[in-house]
Amino acid sequence: MAERMSVLYDASKCTDCGACSVACKQWNTLPAEKTNSLQGHTDFTPRTWTFVSSRESFENKKMQWMFRKQQCMHCGDAACIKVCSTGAISRNDLGFVVIDQNKCIGDGYCVNSCPFHIPRVDESAKKSYKCNGCPDRLANGMKPACVQTCQPEALVYGDRKAILQMADDRVKALLPKYPKANVYGATSLDGLNFTYILLREPDYYGLPANPTVPVELTVWKDVFHPLGLLMVAGAFGMTLLHRVMQRGQNENHPSDKDTGSGKGDAKG
C-alpha cells in the first residue's frame, strides 16, 4: 500500500480564479455547461466535478469575501463505498475514492449517502460522477489537474502526514488575522483526503462541523451486506433501514440542503 496522499486547499490563498475548474474539465474532457448564474457554477453536475463557491459578509463595517473550492472530499471512511449496490466505488491505494464506470449503474445511493452531497447521476447514461483525484495523472507521477494549475498556490499535493503538518503550521500563522482559522478534515471520517484550511467556522462555508457516515450505512455495509442480504432490493432495504435507524440515532448528521453550495453564496 502506497503512502496515503492528500490535497491541501488553503482558503487564505485561494483567489476564486476558477482555473481549477477549467483544468478539471480539460483533463477529464468534460464539456462546458450552461450556468444559470452571473458568476458561474453554484452546484455540481455530472459534468462539473469542482468549482469555487464564495460568500461575502459585511460585518462591523468590515468586508469579508471567503472562497471555498468544492469537490469530492475523498473520505477515509466513505459512505459512498459502503452504500454502492454494485461495488463500483472504491478507495485507491493513494487514498482517493474512485467510481468504476463499468460497474456503476447510477442507482444514486452514493448521492444520498454522501455527507457532503457531492456525486451527481447522469440520468440518461445511468452513471454517477464526481472528482476522482485524477488517478491517471497520479499514477504517472503528476499532480491532480487542479493542483497543477493553481496559480495562487492554494492547492498543494503531497504525503498526507506532511500536508497535515503544513496545514497546522499555516493555521497557526493565520490565527492573528483570522482567529477562527482551522484545519478541516484532519480526523473526521477517518480523515478526508482533501484537507481544508478554513478562515472561519465550517458552518460559514456550508460544511458540516462533524461530518459522519449515517449509522444505518454502517449497519448496512458492515452487518447486513456481508451476510448476503442482497435479496432485499436496494432501495427498499435502504429506506427501511433508514427509518429504523432514524428513531434511535442522534440528529447530528447534516441533511442535503445544509451541505450544498448555495448557502450564503454571493454568486448571483
Binding site: 487564505s12 490563498k13 483567489t15 476564486d16 480564479c17 476558477g18 482555473a19 475548474s21 477549467v22 474539465k25 480539460q26 464539456p31 462546458a32 455547461e33 450552461k34 450556468t35 448564474s37 452571473l38 458568476q39 458561474g40 457554477h41 461575502e56 459578509s57 459585511f58 468586508m63 469579508q64 469575501w65 471567503m66 472562497f67 496559480q151 495562487p152 498556490e153 499555516r170 500563522a173 488575522k177 454571493a266 448571483g268
Partner: protein, 810 residues
C-alpha cells in the same frame, strides 16, 4: 511609462514578478491583480505568507482586497487626494529617508524662482491654447549649467521645500473628504508602508485610465523616493503589464510619439538627423541612426543622412494617439485600416465614434483569431448592412501558442518561446502574413522612379523563405555594421560611433551574446536566494533585474539592507559587483567618483526627481540622454483634479476643478457629450472581466470553459443604492450616461459601499468593459457610456470615473 520616466529616466516597471517575494509591504493601488494579473498575485501571496503586509486601495472590494491586511475604498479618480495626504504625512512627520533623499534625488536642487503654483494652476498656463509653457518648471543653474544644490533640504526655493509647501494643503481630512477614505485609514496606509520596508507599489490600468493618470503615478514615485524604496529588492514601482506582450509592444513603440526603444518619433520640423539630435540629444540621434541602419542596411549612409527622409513624420502639435486617430477616421480621413489584434469597438471610447469611423473606410483588413465586434461592426444590432460600404477582409492568425517568438514580460524579461502546436487550417503567424504582404507590396512598387517609394523598395527585409522570428530578434539586437557580426553587449553598442552599429530597438542590444539567443535561457538557478534568476531569459537593459539598484547601497557603495544585497562596490577588485547586474554608468568608477554616486543615470541631472524639472536653456547639441526631457506636460508635481465628469466640486480649488490641460474629445456632435451630476449622480467605474474574460473578451468570450464561469456581464451595485432604487440581483437595469445607455443585469453586493464625499453620500457602480455582440457569450458594451477625455501626458482615456444614472427596467 509617461508617469515613471519623468521620475527615474526609464518608463519601465522597476522590479520583476519574482522580486515581489522580497517585499515586506504591497500597496495595490489601481490593480486588481488577483483577477487581472493572477501570476503577480502568486508572488504577492508568497510574500504575504512570509509576513508581508498587503494594502489594497480600490473603488470595490475585489478578490485582491479579499487577501488584504488593510483595505480602503476610494471614490474613482481621487488617488492623488489620498496619495497627496500620504506625501504630506511623510513630510510632516519626517518619516522620509534623509540619506537616500539627499544622495539620490533632486530634493536639494533649487527651482527657477519664477515657478509658481496658485489656485490649481502652475505657472505658464496659456488659457487660449489650454496648455502650459514649461519654461519655469526648470532648475536654477550654476555657471556650468548644472542645477544649483542647496546646503540644506529645507532652504527656501529647493525642490524639497516646495514639495512641502505644495502638499501641506493635503491634510488627512482633505484627502479623506475628497477620496472617501477615512483619515485614520490614510495614516494607517502611510504608517504600514513606513514600518514595513522595503515596500513596493503595484498598479495597473486602475491608475492609468484617468485625466490625471501620469500624475497619480508620479505620486507613487515621490512616495517611493521619499521612503528610499526605489532600486531595492522588494521595493520599486511595479506597473503590471498584460499577457499580450504589453511591455514588448511598448518597447516597440505602441505609443504613437515614439519609435522602437523609446526614442522620439520625428515631427515635420525635424528635417535632418542633425536637427533631430539638437532637439532630443546626441544619444537619441545615435539610436535613430541605428534603427535606420537596421531597416535600410548598407543603403543608409552618412551621405543620405541614413535614409532619415524615409521616415514618416508627425504633424507638429497633432496628437497621434489612438483616440484622435479614430476621430479622424470618423471625419473620413482614412481609406484603409489594418486592424491587428485590437477590438476598438469594445475598447476605444466610445463605440459610436468607432462605428462611425469604420463605416467611412473603403477597406478594413482585420487580423485576429476570432471575429470580433470590430470586424462585425457592419452587422451590429441596429445597423443595416446594406448601408455600410466598407469592405472587410478577415485574415485568420495563429494563436499565441501556435507561433514562435519572444514575449517581453512585465519585468522586462525577454523570453523566447517555440511554437507548441501548428496553427489550424489556413491560419498563419502574424510574421508570415506581414512577410507575404510586404513582398507583394514591394513587387507592386518595383521599378518605380518616385523617390517616396524608396522607403519601401530599399527596406532590408530578409527573414527567410519561411520567415524566421529569430532573424527578427537578431535585427533587433543589432550588428556591428563594419564586421557584420551580431553585437554582444549593450556596452559594445553604446561604445560604437553612430552608424557603426545597427539595432532595431537599442534597449534590446545584448539579447544575443556570442551568437547565443539569451532569451532562450531556462536555467532557474538563483544563487543569491533573492529571486534574481540571472540566467533565466534576458532582462533589458543589460540583464539588470532591479533597475536603479545602485540606490540599494550607501555612500560607500555598500548594501544598506544586509538581507537583500543586490550589488556593492568591491574595493579589492575595484569594481561594482553582486548577484544583480549593477545599474551604474561605469562599473569601474567607484563611490569616490560622481559616476559611483549615480543611481538614476537616465535623467540628465542623474537624480531621481521629486519635482519633474528640466534644464532651462539647454545648450544646443548638448549630449544628454533623451529621457532627460521626459516631463509631464500638466505639471512638475502632482495636483489633485476632479475627473472630467465628477459628482462634486474641487475642494482644493473650485475654480480649476478639472485638469486644466486635459483634452476633452468632442468631435462628433451629440456622441461625446459630458454629463452633469444633476442628471447623472452616480459614479461609474469600469474594469477587466476577472480571470475569466480577458481585455475586450474577443478570445475568452469564445471559449466555452471560460464562458460557463462568467456567462454574462452585470453591473455591481451597492446594497444601499440597490435598496433605494428597488433593484435586486438578476434584475435588468438601464445604465445611462450623456453618451448613451445600455441594459444589463444587476448584481447587488456589499463590495461597493457608499462614501461620504465632501459631506455628501456618493455611490459608485462598476461594469466590466469586455463585452459585445459577438461570440458565445454576448452582452451590451459599456463602451456606449464612456467618454474620451484624455490624460495630457499619456493620452489614456478616463474610463475609470464617469457619471451615470440607473433605473430598473420594468
Amino acid at each position: 511609462m509617461a508617469g515613471l520616466s519623468p521620475a527615474f529616466g526609464r518608463g519601465a516597471m522597476t522590479n520583476s514578478w519574482t522580486d515581489l517575494e522580497n517585499t515586506k509591504c504591497f500597496l495595490f493601488g489601481g490593480s486588481n491583480a488577483a483577477e487581472n494579473h493572477p501570476i503577480a498575485m502568486k508572488y504577492a501571496l508568497r510574500a504575504q505568507a512570509k509576513g508581508a503586509k498587503i494594502i489594497v486601495v480600490d473603488p470595490r472590494f475585489t478578490r485582491t482586497a479579499s487577501k488584504a491586511d488593510l483595505f480602503a475604498q476610494l471614490r474613482p479618480g481621487t488617488d492623488i487626494a489620498y496619495l497627496g495626504a500620504i506625501i504630506n504625512y511623510i513630510l510632516e512627520k519626517k518619516l522620509y529617508n534623509v540619506d537616500y533623499v539627499t544622495r539620490f534625488t533632486n530634493a536639494a536642487c533649487k527651482v527657477n524662482s519664477n515657478y509658481k503654483f496658485n489656485e490649481g494652476l502652475f505657472s505658464g498656463f496659456d488659457e487660449a491654447k489650454g496648455t502650459y509653457n514649461t519654461d519655469t518648471w526648470t532648475y536654477e543653474l550654476d555657471a556650468n549649467g548644472q542645477p544649483v544644490k542647496a546646503a540644506s533640504l529645507e532652504e527656501p526655493g529647493t525642490v524639497f521645500s516646495l514639495l512641502k509647501e505644495h502638499y501641506k494643503r493635503y491634510t488627512l481630512e482633505v484627502g479623506s473628504s475628497i477620496s472617501g477614505i477615512a483619515p485614520e485609514t490614510i495614516a494607517q496606509i502611510a504608517d504600514t508602508m513606513v514600518e514595513n520596508q522595503p515596500a513596493t507599489v503595484m498598479y495597473a490600468l486602475g491608475m492609468t485610465h484617468h485625466t490625471t493618470a501620469s500624475q497619480g503615478i508620479r505620486c507613487y514615485s515621490i512616495i517611493q523616493l521619499l521612503l528610499g524604496n526605489i532600486g531595492k529588492a522588494g521595493g520599486g514601482i511595479n506597473a503590471l503589464r498584460g499577457e499580450p506582450n504589453v511591455q514588448g509592444s511598448t518597447d516597440f513603440s505602441n505609443l504613437g510619439p515614439t519609435l522602437p526603444g523609446y526614442i522620439p518619433a520625428p515631427s515635420d520640423v525635424d528635417t535632418t538627423t542633425t536637427i533631430y539630435g539638437q532637439k532630443y540629444g546626441a544619444a537619441a540621434r545615435k539610436h535613430l541612426i541605428s534603427l535606420l541602419k537596421a531597416w535600410y542596411g548598407s543603403i543608409a549612409t552618412e551621405d543620405n543622412d541614413y535614409c532619415y527622409n524615409y521616415l514618416p513624420r508627425m504633424q507638429s502639435g497633432k496628437a497621434i494617439t489612438y483616440i484622435p486617430m479614430m476621430e479622424d477616421m470618423a471625419r473620413g480621413q482614412f481609406k484603409l485600416l489594418f486592424n491587428i489584434g485590437i477590438n476598438p469597438m469594445v475598447s476605444i471610447p466610445n463605440n459610436q465614434v468607432v462605428a462611425t469611423g469604420l463605416a467611412k473606410l473603403e477597406t478594413m483588413v482585420f487580423m485576429d483569431i476570432f471575429e470580433s465586434e470590430t470586424s462585425a461592426f457592419w452587422r451590429a444590432p441596429g445597423v443595416n448592412p446594406e448601408t455600410i460600404n466598407t469592405e472587410v477582409f478577415f485574415l485568420p492568425v495563429a494563436y499565441l501558442y501556435e507561433k514562435a517568438g519572444s514575449m517581453t514580460g512585465s519585468g522586462r524579461w525577454v523570453q523566447w518561446k517555440p511554437a507548441a502546436v501548428k496553427p489550424e487550417g489556413s491560419c498563419l503567424p502574424d510574421l508570415d502574413i506581414l512577410d507575404i504582404i510586404y513582398h507583394k507590396v514591394q513587387k507592386l512598387y518595383a521599378g518605380s522612379a518616385d523617390s517616396k517609394d524608396r522607403a519601401i523598395l530599399d527596406c532590408q527585409w530578409d527573414y527567410g523563405h519561411e520567415p524566421d522570428p529569430e532573424k527578427v530578434l537578431m535585427e533587433i539586437n543589432g550588428y556591428n555594421t563594419k564586421t557584420g557580426k551580431l553585437i554582444n553587449t549593450i556596452g559594445e553598442y553604446l561604445a560604437a560611433p553612430p552608424g557603426d552599429v545597427s539595432s532595431g530597438c537599442w534597449v534590446y542590444a545584448g539579447v544575443f551574446n556570442n551568437g547565443v539567443n539569451l532569451s532562450k535561457r531556462r536555467d532557474n538557478k538563483d544563487p543569491s536566494g533573492l529571486s534574481i534568476f540571472p540566467t533565466w531569459s534576458y532582462s533589458w537593459p543589460a540583464n539588470i533585474r532591479v533597475l536603479y539598484n545602485r540606490a540599494s547601497c550607501d555612500g560607500a557603495g555598500q548594501p544598506v539592507d544586509s538581507a537583500r544585497k543586490l550589488i556593492w562596490w568591491d574595493e579589492a577588485k575595484k569594481q561594482w559587483t553582486g548577484p544583480d547586474v549593477p545599474d551604474v554608468p561605469n562599473r569601474a568608477n567607484g563611490p569616490d567618483t560622481p559616476d559611483g554616486q549615480t543611481a538614476f543615470r537616465m535623467t540628465a541631472e542623474r537624480m531621481g526627481r521629486l519635482f519633474a524639472l528640466r534644464y532651462a536653456n539647454k545648450p544646443a547639441g548638448a549630449n544628454m540622454p533623451f529621457a532627460v526631457s521626459a516631463m509631464c506636460n500638466d505639471g512638475p508635481v502632482p495636483e489633485f483634479y476632479e475627473p472630467i465628469e465628477s459628482p462634486t466640486g474641487n475642494l482644493l480649488h473650485p475654480k480649476v476643478a478639472t485638469n486644466p490641460v486635459a483634452r476633452i474629445r468632442q468631435v462628433l456632435k451629440d456622441k461625446q457629450n459630458i454629463g452633469k451630476a444633476e442628471d447623472y449622480p452616480i459614479v461609474l467605474t469600469t474594469y477587466g472581466g476577472g480571470t475569466m474574460h480577458f481585455c475586450s473578451g474577443s478570445v475568452t468570450r469564445n471559449l466555452p470553459w471560460l464562458v460557463e464561469l462568467r456567462p454574462e456581464n452585470f453591473v455591481e451595485i451597492g446594497t444601499g443604492l440597490a435598496k433605494k432604487l428597488d433593484i435586486k440581483t438578476g434584475e435588468m437595469v438601464e445604465v445611462s450616461s450623456a453618451r448613451g445607455s445600455m441594459k444589463i443585469k444587476a448584481m447587488v453586493t456589499d463590495r461597493i459601499q457608499p462614501l461620504s464625499i465632501n459631506g455628501k453620500e456618493t455611490h459608485t457602480v462598476g461594469i466590466a468593459f469586455g463585452w459585445g455582440f459577438v461570440g458565445l457569450a454576448t452582452g451590451e458594451s459599456v463602451n456606449c457610456l464612456t467618454h474620451a477625455a484624455i490624460d495630457p501626458p499619456a493620452g489614456t482615456p478616463e474610463y475609470k470615473a464617469q457619471l451615470v444614472n440607473i433605473r430598473k427596467v420594468k
